[in-house]
Point group: C2
Amino acid sequence: MHNPIALQEIIEKAISQISYPNQPKKLYDPIQYIMNLGGKRIRPILVLMSAELFNDNLTPVIDAALAIETFHNFTLIHDDIMDNAPLRRGEKTVHEIWGTNNAILSGDVMMVEANKHLAKLDSAVLKDALETFNTTAQGVCEGQQLDMEFEQRDDVTIAEYIEMIRLKTAVLLGGAMKLGAQVAGANAQQTELIYQYGESLGIAFQLQDDILDVYGNPEKFGKQVGGDIIANKKTFLMLTALQLISPEEKKEMFKNYATEAEKIKHVTELYNKYKIEELANKEAERYIQIANHSLNSLPVLEERKVELKQLTQQLLNRSY
Amino acid sequence: MHNPIALQEIIEKAISQISYPNQPKKLYDPIQYIMNLGGKRIRPILVLMSAELFNDNLTPVIDAALAIETFHNFTLIHDDIMDNAPLRRGEKTVHEIWGTNNAILSGDVMMVEANKHLAKLDSAVLKDALETFNTTAQGVCEGQQLDMEFEQRDDVTIAEYIEMIRLKTAVLLGGAMKLGAQVAGANAQQTELIYQYGESLGIAFQLQDDILDVYGNPEKFGKQVGGDIIANKKTFLMLTALQLISPEEKKEMFKNYATEAEKIKHVTELYNKYKIEELANKEAERYIQIANHSLNSLPVLEERKVELKQLTQQLLNRSY
């Protein structure tokens, strides 16, 4: 059993050993660039951790981890185009450096690269792995589509929002863990439980992100606190508040503010008045409970679950 | 053995039976739209024809044909964004109707759909099929990248141009035929020969397209005759002419013309003076020879090759 740091090292080493073609340079340089922008490598770590629940031999699982990480980075390139984002992890986005057309095409070829990693898996698990990977990839695309559509809508329900973050974020965590388990030889019941675990964890994780965006410690959060409020983003907090506040407060919420800081302050006060943080935390805890229930139900020796339980505690205890 | 019309009917029926998810509608409507814009279905027909060289049972090959056609249509959506093209087969392009972001994402999920078709193949052939498909997809992306880069360059050589059309167009024809053969149970030597056949045919086909763009019968060609000349496109004809014409003629070629018709007339006269059509035809014939040599070398009963030989003659005798 490896701890997350050891697993991350395995992944970083594997990524550094991927060899992309040299030409056309503008097609492959963006792939090198985004794959080496860093990040916590949570998804491929989860692939490996899930595999280690069932099997000590990680060698055959590396390709699955690389497929997931490559796919994830491909979605970042294309999402950044769609979101018109200038920065990713503090650095220029691919389309900012190479242009939109180039970013589209490099993303496309990255999807092929992800599939190439996957195609290296053993024939005995290949079919199941492809099924998991394709279902996951499709869900992520659907989630991004819903996210874009929600920006244009004023009647998004909380249930729709949860479904959107399930698809956009949580399906990939669940899919990563299911894939790791399948490659490690887990049976269908086991892979289903680990999928449920990952997906529920993913939803809790995203809800926490929504909370941290408002209540996070600016020094530790890494993004601008209040960013979602400024962007009028329909997060779980916003949608819950909209159900509770008075019409006058709603009008007040969306008025023009003199400064961004004033808007953040005012909306946060409204959130406080209606205990939105507490409600959001309760919802996150509900998903953590589902996640823990799935992991506890998994017929695997408790000692094999230790690292995974620690990592998830760590992820979920991100500091405010 | 089926003739191309019968095969096209099989493909149209299979396409009509694909069921995409209903939601999100804006994600899947573009897929329905582009898949039903028509077209000659050359690539999936080639998948099936290639399979019929080796095996009478087409049922297991349909998924491979659908994977190829879905992938091809995905590239059309993304290429049309990159080329800023308003029309595709006489109808509005996907990004014109649904917007660029939506077109990017629908294309992405189409790539997943292509992989889902592929993943249905029998486990015995799956690994080889994935290898062929991924190599093909990667080549097509590289070809599109080179095509975009060549627009910005003034020193493209004829050899570079041939390599670009090989990747952008011919690799997919070769890959389609290799895939069909693999699924039908052909051995490695056979699949390599049929790949060579398809790739060489694809290069010849594109060279013919270059010729038809200048010398085609406007009523039969389907596109504006002279379009490449107006766009200063670096086709085989243009690159060959640039090697032969005098510096004065080159200056004359790129001067400002009063009308597009005048430019087309003048450049065509230059092409005529230097027998560019004949030179291009010779190059196309060279690739047809290579294609025929590959097909003749294929250890398969001659009677099984009849339909394929007829189709390719038909494709290559497109009227001027």
